[in-house]
Amino acid sequence: MSNDDEMVGYRQQPGKLPFSRPGSGGKNQFSELRDIQLIPESQGGKKHQPKGDHRHDPLISGTSIGKSTALVDSKWKVTGKANYGDDIRLSNELIGKIVRSPHHYARVLSIDISKAVELEGVIAIATGADAQNSFGVLPVTKDEHAMAIEKTRHKGDLVACVAAIDEITALEAVRLIEVEYEVLDSIHDMRKGLDDSEYPIHDRGQYHIGESNVQKRVFQEFGNIGEMIPNSVANHKSNWLFAGVNHGFTEPHAVVADWDPSGRLTLYTPQQVPHYVHRALADVLEIPMHQINVYRTFVGGGFGGKSDPFPHEMCAAILARKSGRPVRITFDREEVFWVNRGRHPSRIEMDIHADSDGRLCGVQTDALIDGGAFASFGHVTTYYNGVLHTAPYELGAFHYTGARVWTNKPASGAMRGHGAVNSRCAVEVGLDDIAEQLSVDPITLRLANLLPPFSATITGFRITSIGMRECLEKVKKASNWDKKFRQLPLGHGIGIGCGFFISGSGLPIHWDPNKFPHATVHLKIDMDGGVTIHTGAADIGQGSDTVVAQSVAEVLGLPLDMIRVRSRETDTSPVDLGSYSSRVTFMNANAAISAAMEIRKDLLKAASIITETEIEKLVIGDRRIFDKQDPAIGVSYLEALHKAQEDRGALTSSGSYRTPPMGRAHKGAAAGLAPAYSFSAYVAEVKVDMETGQTKVLEVWAAHDCGKALNPLSVKGQIIGSCHMGLGQVLSEEMKYSRGGDLLNPDLLDYKIPSIHEMPKVNPIIVESNDLEGPFGAKEAGEGPLLPILPAVCNAVYDASGIRVNELPITGDRLYKEIEKKCKILKISNPLNLPNPSLIHSDLQTVLESRASKHSERDLERILSEEKTPYHNGALFGMNPEVPGDEQDSRWEIRVIPDDQYLSNPRLAGSAWRHVERRKRND
């Protein structure tokens, strides 16, 4: 470790990778040893568990888990009774509208509201002067204001806002506000953001990186970089350009702010992360958090796009405060694109090296990502572009340079598959190319390079359950891969892609995990027997309310109709970090189980008193608690409940979840840490029209390892929906900017979301790896399933046409240009005569096959053995699996700062390191 000053004080266990006993920390430790004898006989007794037992097995009552379940709030949605942001109508409401900057980058010299004030019906006007405090989703990068303070940083940036009695008046007032600007030179090409600038878009004071627009830069080297290239026999090199994409949720942002007579603010907003808005409002309005109630309405799709605290939410609160009346602000679709937070436009250089044994001896990634005008989640995105492709494969060495720059565009942020999607696409396409160079099957290549269960990645992430192998094997079989790959006629192809994603972020954004749990759930049961769940997890349509209800129902042996979830208001819900990083099922359901176990104990105790049976002999079934040996002895749920309530009335309990200590201690070690990871493998079959370049996806086989499908209906829905969104990015969706930097398609007509006709048949395949720490074995299924579809389609396009695309989306004109180019090079006039890619296996194929089958046995052994011996990345290359690489080989290094040698010839994003932070400069 070369730079000690870069070591930061995360409270983690450095170095050693402890395989602690599964279980959450938090208030309710429930790491009891598993006792499968406790599974009720009525539920199948000692049921077959191919992946071993789970600590939640004894809690299974057979009522809910694993059964396809309609979302608990679906009846509201199908009757029109679900109230989304704009459906909150309070009496005496005002309509808020926003004055937006017409310039890409400008200094605000003056704002004249005199004419607007005089317009009849205008009640309140606010400008940046009314809210000086900055905010932002990450505490380290609070760079947003409710309205421009000094500068506007992109076209559509907020300058002022108006509340009036109706929409027409508000729009007219917006027109009457006169703003004087001094236009500044704007930056639109992300590469320009790496250079010094006269007026950087933000000024971070002593932490500013040179005078540039670099918002965040990352340098990471793991392993023996020097040996990576000399050892390789196959080398992939590609240079990708990914267009930015927008979430495209159907509900535009809308917010209602209302200050009640006691002076408390209620903010009605469709938010994925009410807690962060709660914090930001307190900062901006300069009132304590307890004076604010954030009410999450139904959310009409989030996908990451409703997880920042937004300036318009601040505006509504400010206008409502000034006017003394409720204020509703609803965006039109164009404004949704102005606020954006979609996937970063990216330039990714991907180098992959493989040695003569078909091992991946090195991956070098350089990712420059275009952050737009604000930081948003970008700090994390910059890491994720690198660290989230260090698995599922065992790597010899890993080198990542990443940089995120500010440009004068609507801000990029978190979007489904946050930060992992683009670089994953580049990796998986690279592997396809490596397989081609080695003349082996790309699925076999992957199967022979997988990390085993209970292992550590090269960057020190703790892999527990891993269903990658099963995913690959299942899609291979289902798609009839062996009969199709490289054997279909020209214009028809099949391709594979894999994915790896976090199941909840290991570190919460806002606090030290040792101080607060990640998720907390409260339960309350009164005499009626119905269970009220209080949780702060935001249901954004993914079904988090349902999964929490199912978990509680399962533990207490109740049907779902006896469970009601209250998750809307921060006044009544325990703090929850919100719906992002695919954390809700894992963390919230764990907290819910923990809370339900408390109640379960009370019920069992009561039943034991009534039946005079030992507690240990009792089990819970459907609304009944009975003796396992003699089911005739037992009491109904209500009887036990009433007995339990004799002393203290309503039963209440609280459960929580926090992640176990994980990870290593280098700078950035926390980014990408998760208590579990999901894995997926997709095969896509496509048709490419060689004469027009049009690509049509025919069918997708999509296997996803979600640990355990608590609600298979929802898991399948997430897999198919992810395919839909990923297909949009790979084939048609793109935020197009003109040369002058104008966004050309801020509407759903030109921003092309796939319709029903573009959607292929998707065959979802659920793989259950039974994660030891997941609730009943579950991991995430919301984001990971998006990753593999992009490379699967790219690789299928290659199989069909012989063209390696490196620019997304693969529109007809782009692909046809490549086809034309190839025709010219090969001097072929008719694209239909282009050579069709073919494959004759080399000797390496059998070597890889036998390695894969050996690894398959090894993996099963590791899953089933009680003793989890450490396995660190590198064992495949002959290193000692018991200790991390840097502790056994002095040439195996971890570096997080580039040396002079690197800086003399940096790659694109790496060149961000040529700047010196202001505080470290001597001038």
Partner: protein, 188 residues
């Protein structure tokens, strides 16, 4: 868009407007240039009819005008004066849901639910006309509706299940019927 859109001409005429919304006669006064979507949401009591894009591209605002699906964001209210308008709120009969509402919930046709009202009215019109549609007919019917969550597959499953319910005349239970007994097997 507000900053860049030309201001609408203020102070348009107030005119009276009548129609039959979900089988109930409805009359009000509206600005003569009102769009049907605004009238339904702001005056007609149908907050279930959603605004997704303002441009007729997403289908969230679809309602039935005399039984025919129409994009209410592209329809002037005056155009449909006197018509019979059905919104998502008009699909169920009291607490008996329309089969497509029932199956949308059960088969995962709805995730976030924002596009759902548009899909439901379009599909109810399809099923009225053709209770047993094939895949192609279903796809053609909903081609104007965007859904960002489901990838459409579970929507098609829902339509097929609803069609089965309608063909077999299966009765859909009143949603207010008694739920699970917390004290099973005992008489209180």
């Amino acid at each position: 868009m507000s900053r860049f859109r030309l201001p609408m001409i203020p102070a348009s005429d107030e005119v009276s407007w009548t129609s039959k919304i979900n089988n109930v006669d409805f009359s009000t006064t509206i600005a003569s240039n009102s769009i049907l979507l605004d009238v339904l949401r702001n005056k007609g009591g149908s907050l279930g009819t959603k605004r997704g894009c303002d441009l007729g591209t997403c289908g969230c605002c679809t309602v039935l005008v005399d039984g025919i699906p129409k994009l209410s964001c592209l329809t002037m209210a005056k155009e449909v004066e006197g018509s019979k308008i059905t919104t998502v709120e008009g699909l169920s009969l009291g607490h008996h849901l329309h089969p497509i509402q029932e199956t949308f919930a059960e088969y995962g046709g709805s995730q976030c639910g924002f596009c759902t009202p548009g899909f439901l009215v379009v599909i109810s019109a399809l099923l009225d006309e053709n209770p047993n549609p094939n895949d192609h007919e279903i796809k053609t019917a909903i081609e104007g509706n965007l859904c960002r969550c489901t990838g459409y597959q579970q929507i098609i499953d829902s339509v097929k299940a609803a069609s089965e319910i309608m063909l077999n005349n299966v009765k859909i239970e009143d949603s207010t019927s008694p739920k699970s007994d917390p004290h099973p097997g005992f008489n209180n």
